[in-house]
Symmetry: C3
Subunit: 485 residues, 3 copies
C-alpha cells in the first residue's frame, strides 16, 4: 500500500487539459492500426458473403430467412441502442457533463467495437484454413457486449478523466475482456448469455479499481458540479428507460435459436419489472418524508437485468426471475444509500455513477444465481435434449453434469473478479502517469475543459437571454424598474 | 348525484403527502404476492421451454425461425418502447411534473404487467392439464397492452394523485381490463387487434370517470404549474414521436402471422400520416395568427392510430385508412379546442392530458369503423379462406357471417364503454377515501411532494411565479433587494 | 445570373408570417387529393392481402415467416425512427427552433410519404393487369427513403422558411426524387442500396440550390438566434445517435434477402465507427485548446454512413468500409470548419445544418466509391452466382460486366447531381414568390412566428439562472445596473 501511495505522490502532476495533440494522435494512430489489422485479418463469414447462395444449397438451408441475420438483427439493434443511447444518456445526469457523458461514450464505444471485433475474433472466429477472422451479425453483438464492459468502467470515473485516458482505458479493457471471456466461456465452459460475470462483474470491478487508483482526495472542490439539475435528470431517464426496455434483447441476443432466445427474453422482462417495485419501495422508505430519489430510479431499477444475465437462458422459471429482481432492487438501492458513501470515505473509491450498485454487486449475484440454477438443473425439468442444448454438453464437455457445471460457473465468476480488479489496478497505474491531460480537482464534472460550449452558457445565461431574446428591451427595463420600486 | 356529492363532502380530508409507509408497503406486499402467484401458476409455454426441440419434431416444424418469438419479438419491443418511453415522455409536458410523469408511469407499468400476465393468463393461457398458465412472447405483448389501458387513465389524473392511488388504479384497472377483454374477444367474439375498444375506449372512460369522481373545484390554485415550458414541450415530443412511429407495431403485434401483421402495419402507417396533416390544419385554423399549438401536435397526431386499431387487420384498404386518419385529426384537435374546456366547466371532468380527445373519442370511432368494416366484408374482397382467417370464423363461430360480426363488434364497443365508466366510478369512490396521501389543490402538477428535487431547482419556483403569475411578490422583491444592496 | 438577380429584386416582399389560411388550405387540399388518388390507385400487394394464404399455396411457400414482412419490418421501423426522431431531433440544435425542427419535420415527412407511395408506386409497383399500385412493406421503406431526400433539403433552409414553403419543397422534391430514382435505378441500372446518390447527393444539392435561390443578405440580423444552448445540443445528440445507430438498417433495408442485408449492415456499422474517430481527431486538432465542437460530433460522425450507402451491399470488405469512414470523417469535419463559411461568404449559400458536409459531399464520395467497387468486382471474389445476384445482371442486363456497371454507377451519380441542382433552382424560384409567409431576416431561427410558445419562457431564464447558477454575482449585478441606467 505504501508503494501505491508513493507512486501517487510521484505523480503529483501539473494539470493541463489541452488534448489538441494527444487526442488526435491517439485517434489517428489507432484508427489506422485498425484499418491495417482489418485488412490483414477480417473478412465476411459465409452468411454475409456473396457465396451465401452457394453455401445455402450446400448446407441444404431451405430459405434466406434462416440466415442468422434474421434471428439476431432485431436484438442487435436493441443492444446497439443500449450501448450508445442507454449508457450515454444514463450518464447525462450531471448538471454540466452531458456533452462528455454522451460524447465520450460515443467515442470510446466506436473505437472499442473495432478492437473488440479483432480481439474476440482471434479467440472465437478465426478460420484456421486461411488465417482470417470471419465476421457476421453475432460478432457485432459480441463487440457491442465487449464495449459495454468499458462503458461500465467509464461510469466510475465519469467526469474525472480526459478523453485520452478513456481511450487507454478502453484499449486495455477490451483486451482484458477478450482474454477473460475466452477463459470463462471456452476453457472453463461456464455459460453467461447476458454477461453477468463476463461483462458486469468484470466491468464493474475494472472501473472501481481504476477509480481507486485515481483517487482524488480533494474532489470536494468540484462538489458544486457533482449533482443534477431538473432537466439533466429527465435526460438521464432516457438512458434508463432504453436500457430497461431493451435488456431482454441484451440477455437473449446470443442465446440459442428458438427457445433459448425466447426464454431469456421472458426471464429478463420479469426480473426487471420486479426490480422497479422494490427500488421504489426502498427509495421511499429510506428517505425523509418518503420522497423518491431519482438516482435510485435511474439506476437500481436496472439491477434485475444484470442479475438475471447468466441464468436467463436456463429454466430459472418466471417466479425465479421475479425473486432475483426483488432482491436486486433492494440490494442495489441500499447500496446507493449506504455503500457508496462508505466506499468513498473509507475505501477511497469515488464511484461517480455508482456502478458498484448497478453492475458489480448485481453481477456477482447474477453469477451466483447462475451457478445455483445450473447446479440444480435436472433432466426432468429440462428434458434430455434440452439439458444438453442449454448447457452445451457436447464435444469435450459431453460428460459434464449440472452439478459440475455449477462449479464451473462459480469458477468463471472468480476469474471475472480477478481480471477486473487486477486489470483495473494495472491500467490505473498507467492512467496515473502525469501525461494524460486530466482535469484538476476543482475542474471535474465539467464539460468546459474538453468541449467548446455554446457561448452564452460560458458567460452568463441571464444576461445573454436578456440581450438576445428581448426585442423589446424597454418593456423589460420597465418591468425591472417596476419590480424594484 | 346527491349521494355522490355527500360522499365527496364526507371525504373532506386533510392533505398529507408523506407516502413513506404506504408506498413501500404497497410495493412490497404486491410484489411478494406476485412472486407467490407466479410460483403457483406461471410456467413457460412450449415455445419458450427447453422441450421446444422435442415439440418442434413432434409438430414437424422445420426451423427454429418458426418459433413465435421471431414473428413477434420486434413488434413486442416496439410496443414496450411505446409503453415506457412513449406514454412516459408524452406526459412530461408539464413544467414541473416530468419526474412524476416518467417515474410513476414506469412504476405502474412495471407492476401492471405482472398482474396482467396473471389475469390474462387465467382467461386465455391456462393449461387445463396441469392448471398452469403457459406464457410466451404473445403474453408479454398482451400484458403491455393491458398496462396501456391504465396508463391512458393516468393521463386524465396526471399531477393530481399520489403514487399509491396510481397503484390502486392500476390493480383494479388491470383486473377490469382482463374481464372486459375476455367478454369482448371470447364471449362476444369481436375482433380488436389494436385495441380501439378494449384498450383505448375502456382506458379513456375509466380514466375520465375516475377524474370525475376526484373532481377538484379549487384546482385553479395550481394553475401556475398547469402548463408547459419550452424544454418540457420538446421532451414531450420524444413521447409523441415514439408512439407515432411504433403504432404500426402496436396494431400489428398480435394479428395473424403473415398477411395479418403486414396489412395492419400498412393501415396504421397510413392513418397516422393522414392525421398529422389535418391536425396541423385545424390547429392553425383555430388559433389567432395561425400559430400551431404544441398540445395538438403532441396528442392529436396520434388519434389516427387509435381509430384504426380495430379495423387495421381487416381489408380497410389504404384509402380507408387515410379517411379514418383524416377525420380523427380534425375531431381530436377540435376536442382539445372546445370539448376539454367544456368538460371541465360543465361536466366537472378535469382531464390533464386530454385523453378524451386522444383515446376515448378516437377509440369510439375505431370501434364503429371496425363494426362497419366487418359488416361490409365480402368473400369477393377477402377470398373464401381469407374471410374465415381474418374473422376467425371457426369452431363455435363457424356459421357467423360478416353482418353478424358487425353486430358483435358494436356489442363489444358497448361493453368497453360500460366497463370503463362503471369501473371508473367504482375505483374513483375508493380513491376518494382520505387515506391515499394525494396532494392538496394548490400543490398539484408538482413533483415536489413525492420526489427529492435537485437542490438548486427548489429555489426557482417562487421566482418563476413571480414573473408570470405573480403569486408571492413579496418574497421575490426581498430577494432582489438583497441582491442589489 | 442577372436574371436571377432581377427576379430577386422583384420578389422584394413584405413579410407576413400569418399562415392561418395558407397552411390549413394546403394541408386539406393535399390530403384530400391523397385520399382520392389512393382510392383510385393503391391496393395491398399479395403479401399483405387476405389472399396471401392462397398465394402461399400457389407459390409453394412453406411458412408465413417467409412473407417479406419478416425480412424487412425490423429495418423498416429503424428507418422510420431515423426519419422522424433522427432527422427531427438532429435539427433541434438551434436555441429557439426546436418546435419547428421537430414539428415541421413531422409534418412534411407525414405528407411526403403519402405522395412518395404514389409517385414511386407508378414507377415501380404498378400492376398492369388492373392498373393498381400494389404496396407492401418494401414500399413503405422506399417512401421513407424518398422523404429523407426532402428532410435533407430542409436542413439547408432550416429556420428560414415557412411551413407552407416546406410543403411545396416536399411536393416537388418527392416528384423529382421519384423520376430521378427511376432513371438511375431502372434505366441506367445503377445499384444504390443506401441511396448515397439517389437520396443524399440529390437531397443535398436540392437543398443547397434552394438555399442559394433564397439567399438572405441580411441574415446576420438573426445571428443572435443562430446558435445552440447547452440543452439544445443535448437534444440534438438524440437525433445524431438514433441516426448513427440505425444507419446499418437504412443501408440494408431494401438489399437482397440473406447475405445482401447481412453484408450491408456490417459494412455500415464499420464505416460509421471509423468516422467517429477521425471526426473527433479533426475537431480537436483544428480548435484552439483542442476542445471538441458539438457541431462536428453531431453531424460529421454520420458521414461514413452516407458514403458507404452505395457500396454497402457490394464486397467492399470490412477494411474498405473503415477506409471510407476514415476519409469521410476528415472531409466532413474540414467542410464544417472551412467550406461552410466559404460557401456562405462567396457562393451565397446559407446552409443552416451544413448538409453539404453531411450529405452532399459524402454522397458524392459514396457514388464514386460505389462505381469503383462495382468496376473492380471479380467472379473470384463474388462467386459466379454471387456476382449476378449482387449486381442484378439479369433480364436485359444479363450481358453486363463489372466494368460497365462501374460506368453506369458514375452516370447515375451525374443524374443525381443534375436533378438536385436543376430541381433546386426551379423550386427555389417558386419559393421566392412573395406569397409564402416566410419570416423576415431579423426573425429567422425563431419558433415565435409559427408556434404558440409557452408564456413564461420568454421572461424567466435570466432570473432563474441569476438566483441559482451565478457564482459571480458581481458581474451580473453590474450588467443589470447597466441595463437599467
Amino acid at each position: 500500500m505504501g508503494c501505491v501511495q508513493s507512486f501517487r505522490n510521484f505523480c503529483d502532476r501539473p494539470k493541463n487539459t489541452n488534448v489538441r495533440i494527444s487526442l488526435p494522435a491517439v485517434c489517428f494512430v489507432w484508427q489506422i492500426a485498425m484499418i491495417i489489422l482489418f485488412g490483414v485479418f477480417i473478412r465476411y463469414n459465409e452468411e454475409a458473403d456473396t457465396h451465401w447462395v452457394e453455401y445455402r444449397k450446400k448446407e441444404n438451408i431451405s430459405s434466406d430467412i434462416e440466415n442468422d441475420f434474421y434471428f439476431r438483427y432485431p436484438s442487435f439493434q436493441d443492444v446497439h441502442v443500449m450501448i450508445f443511447v442507454g449508457f450515454g444518456f444514463l450518464m447525462t445526469f450531471l448538471k454540466r457533463y452531458s456533452f462528455g457523458a454522451v460524447g465520450f461514450n460515443f467515442l470510446i464505444a466506436a473505437f472499442g467495437l473495432q478492437w473488440a471485433l479483432l480481439m474476440q475474433g482471434w479467440f472465437h472466429s478465426l478460420d484456421y484454413t486461411d488465417g482470417k477472422i470471419k465476421i457476421g451479425i453475432e460478432n457485432l453483438i459480441n463487440a457491442d457486449f465487449c464495449v459495454a464492459g468499458c462503458l461500465i468502467a467509464y461510469g466510475a470515473v465519469l467526469g474525472k478523466v480526459s478523453p485520452v485516458q478513456l481511450m487507454v482505458l478502453t484499449l486495455f479493457g477490451i483486451t482484458l475482456f477478450a482474454v477473460e471471456e475466452y477463459i470463462i466461456l471456452n476453457l472453463i465452459h461456464a455459460r453467461d448469455a447476458g454477461g453477468s460475470m463476463v461483462i458486469h462483474t468484470f466491468g464493474g470491478y475494472y472501473g472501481l479499481s481504476i477509480s481507486w487508483m485515481l483517487y482524488r482526495p480533494n474532489l470536494e472542490q468540484s462538489s458544486n458540479l457533482q449533482g443534477s439539475v431538473y432537466q439533466s435528470d429527465v435526460f438521464a431517464m432516457i438512458g434508463t428507460l432504453f436500457l430497461w426496455m431493451f435488456w431482454p434483447s441484451f440477455n437473449s441476443a446470443i442465446t440459442d435459436h428458438g427457445d433459448g432466445q425466447h426464454r431469456a427474453a421472458i426471464n429478463t422482462y420479469l426480473a426487471l419489472a420486479s426490480t422497479v417495485l422494490t427500488t421504489v419501495a426502498i427509495s421511499s422508505l429510506f428517505q425523509k418524508h418518503g420522497k423518491l430519489d431519482m438516482v435510485h430510479i435511474q439506476n437500481s431499477t436496472l439491477a434485475g437485468g444484470v442479475a438475471v444475465g447468466t441464468a436467463a437462458e436456463f429454466m430459472l422459471m418466471p417466479y425465479g426471475s421475479l425473486i432475483v429482481g426483488f432482491c436486486c432492487g433492494i440490494i442495489s438501492t441500499l447500496g446507493y444509500i449506504y455503500l457508496t458513501p462508505f466506499m468513498e470515505k473509507y475505501l477511497k473509491i469515488q464511484d461517480t455513477c455508482g456502478i458498484h450498485n448497478l453492475h458489480a454487486m448485481p453481477g456477482l449475484i447474477g453469477g451466483i444465481v447462475g451457478a445455483i440454477t445450473a447446479a440444480a438443473a435436472t433432466e426432468s425439468v429440462y428434458g434430455k435434449e434440452g439439458l444438453v442444448n442449454t448447457f452445451d454438453f457436447v464435444g469435450p464437455f459431453k460428460n459434464m453434469v449440472p452439478t459440475t457445471q455449477g462449479g464451473h460457473q462459480a469458477a468463471g465468476l472468480c476469474v471475472a473478479i480477478c481480471f477486473g480488479i487486477g486489470g483495473g489496478i494495472m491500467v490505473g497505474c498507467i492512467l496515473r502517469l502525469p501525461i494524460w491531460c486530466d482535469p484538476a480537482d476543482d475542474n471535474c464534472f465539467n464539460d468546459e475543459p474538453y468541449w467548446e460550449l455554446p457561448e452564452e452558457e460560458e458567460i452568463i445565461p441571464p444576461i445573454l437571454h436578456y440581450n438576445n431574446h428581448m426585442v423589446n428591451k424597454d418593456v423589460v427595463d420597465t418591468n425591472f424598474s417596476m419590480e424594484q420600486n
